[in-house]
C-alpha cells in the first residue's frame, strides 16, 4: 500500500499523537466518565491505523506486525482473566470480586480493580482492531499481486 501526499502525512503526524493521548485518557478515566477500555482502545487503534494509512504499509513487515499484535491481544485478555480469577483468593471469594481498596469516589486512583480491567481491555481492543486491520491490508496486498 502506497503512502499519501505530504499534506496528509504532515497533518497525520500532528494529529496521531493527540488522538493516541485522547485514547489513553478515555481508558484511564473509564471508571469516572463515559467510555472505558473498549472505547479508548478503539481510539488508540485509530491513531495507529491513521499512521499506516497515511504513510503506507510498505515500510512495515506486515506478517511480523500481525503476529505481534495478536500476541499482545492474547496476553492482555489473559491478564484480564487472571485479574478476575485472583478474586477467588480474596475477600468473599467470588469470580470478578472487586478485591482492591475502593478509595475516594471521583479520584483517578479509585474503584479497586476496575481501572486495571479498563487498561488491559483497552490494550486488548486496540491490539485486536489493529490485527483485523493488518489482516485486511495483508489480504489486499496478496490479492493485488
Amino acid at each position: 500500500m502506497e503512502g499519501m501526499s505530504t499534506i496528509v502525512k504532515k497533518v497525520t503526524q500532528l494529529m496521531a499523537g493527540i488522538i493516541f493521548m485522547y485514547g489513553i485518557y478515555i481508558i484511564l478515566h473509564g471508571h469516572l466518565t463515559p467510555g472505558g477500555g473498549f472505547a479508548g482502545g478503539a481510539i488508540v487503534a485509530g491513531a495507529f491505523i491513521l499512521l499506516i494509512l497515511a504513510f503506507g504499509s510498505s515500510a512495515l513487515n506486515l506478517k511480523k506486525e500481525v503476529s505481534g499484535t495478536s500476541n499482545v491481544e492474547s496476553v492482555a485478555i489473559l491478564i484480564v482473566l487472571l485479574l478476575a480469577l485472583m478474586a477467588l483468593l480474596f475477600g468473599i471469594k467470588v469470580f470478578f470480586f472487586n478485591y482492591l481498596p475502593k478509595g475516594e469516589p471521583g479520584e483517578l486512583v479509585s474503584a479497586g480493580v476496575i481501572p486495571l480491567y479498563n487498561i488491559f481491555i483497552g490494550i486488548e481492543v486496540a491490539a485486536a482492531i489493529l490485527t483485523i486491520f493488518l489482516a485486511l491490508v495483508i489480504f489486499k496486498e496478496e490479492s493485488s499481486k
Binding site: S70, N71, V75, L78, A87, G91, I92, V94, F95
Partner: protein, 512 residues
Amino acid sequence: MDTLIPLFVAIPLISAFLIVILGKLVKGFHRFFAPLILLALLVMAVIEFSSLGKSSIHYTLGGWSTEGGYPVGIYMVLDGFSVLMLCIINLIGFIALFYSLSYIRKYTAESNYYALFCLIIAGMNGVVLSGDLFNLFVFLEVSVISSYALVAFGVGKTELEASFKYQVLGGLASMLILLAIGLIYWKTKTLNIADVRNVLDAGYSKPYYIFIQVLLISGFGLKAAIIPFHAWLPDAHSSAPSPISAMLSGVLIKAVGIYVLIRLFFNMFVFTHEIAVVFTTLGAISMVIGAFLAFMQWDVKRLLAYSSISQIGYVVMAFGMSMILLVRGDNYTAAALAIAGGVYHMVNHAVFKGLLFLNAGALEYRLDTRDLKKMGGLSSAMPVTSSTSFMASMSISGIPPFNGFFSKLIIIIAAINGKFYLLATLAVVISFITLAYFLKFQRYAFFNKPLQKSIEKIREVPFSMSFSMVVLAILCLALSLLAFPSINDAILRPAIHVLMQSDIYSTTIMGL
C-alpha cells in the same frame, strides 16, 4: 461446589488464549494441553452432576447481591437441566477433541483449531450456565462466531460458501434474538430470567409477548435448524471438519438452540396454547421433512446433517406436546413423560449423532470422499468404523436394545397417553424411514461390493480416532440403561423436575 461454576467458562477461555500464545513457542503444546483441559471440564461437570441432585445453585459474579428485591449482578445458574447439558457438552467436546488429535493433522494452523475449539466450549458452557438474557446472548455469539471460523477451517470453496451462508443466517438469527431481548428489557426493566418471570407473573399484555415469543422462536429456531429455518445446516455441518460436525450437530444446535428455547419458554414465559401448538407443529414438520430430505442424499455428511434436523424435530415435538398438556393442565403424567422423552432423546442424539459424524470423518480420512456411491465393502477393511457406525445407525433408527429405541418409545407412549394419535403415528413412520436411510448408508458404505480397486490398501483409522468411536459406541449401549426407572430417576429426574415445575426456577433464584 459453588466455586466451580465460573470456572466452566473461565478455564476454556484461558486455555484458548494460552494455546494461541504458547502454541507458537512450544511445539505440540496444544496437542496435550487441550484434551487435558476438556477432560478436567468433563470431570468437573460430572462432580457437579453427582452433587447437585434436585437442588439448584446460583452464583452471583462479583458478589453483587439483590438491591431492594431486584437482582443487580450477573447470575450463573446451575440446576438439573443445565448440569445435564454441561455434561453432554464437555463429554462430546472431549471425545471430539481426542478424535481431532489424529484427524486434524492434515490441516495447517493446528493451534488455531484447538484455540477455537476451546472458545466454542467456553461459549456453550456460558450459554447453559448464564442466568440472564444479555450474557446468554454474548456467550451465544462467542460460540457461534468461533463455529463460523471452524466451519470454514478447510478454506476450500465449498467450506467458505457454507460458512458464509451460515454467517448470514446466523447473523440474522442473532439480530432477531437481540431485538427480542431488547423488547423484553423495554417492558420488564430487567434482564434476569428469573426476574422477568416474576414480572410476567404479575400480569402482562399478551399480544406484545406473543410477538417477542415469535421473534425468539425464529431466532433460536434458526440456531437449532428447525425446518423452515434449516437452510444453512446441511452445508455448514457437512463441510466442517468431522469432529467439528460432531460438535455442531451433536451439541451446538442443542446448547444454543433447543436448550435456550426450552429454558426461556418453560422457565421464563408463561405457557400459552398458541405457542405450544406452534412448537409441536414445527417439531413434527422438521421430523417428517428432515427424514425425507435425508433419504435422498448421497453425500454421507449431508445425509447425517438432514437426519439431525429430523431427530431435533422429535425433541421439539416432545417438548411441544408437553407444553400443550401443561397448558390444558389435565394430564400431568403424560406431560412429564413427554419431557422425559425429549430430554432423553436429546442426550441420546448427542451421543449417536456425534458418533456417526466421527464415522463419516473416518471414512473421509481414509477414502478422501464423502460420496456413498464411491464407497463399498469397507466392513472388512475398517472393522472398528464399520461396527461402531452399525451400532450408531441402529440406535438412531430405534432398534432395541440401543438407546434411541427407548427414547423414541417414551416419546411415542407420551403422545398416545396425551391423545396425539397423529403425532404418534408420524413418529413411528419416521422411525422406519430413518431405519431405511441408515440401512442405505450401511449398505453402500460397508457391505456393498467394493468399488475402489485399492480397497486392500485401506487400513483402520489411527488409535485416537478409533478409541473415540468405541467410547461413544459403548455409550450408545450404556445410555439405554436410562430406560430403567431407578437409573432414570437419578439422572433425568432433576432436569424433568425443573421443567415440570416451571415456577421453581424463578422462585429459588429470587429467594422467594
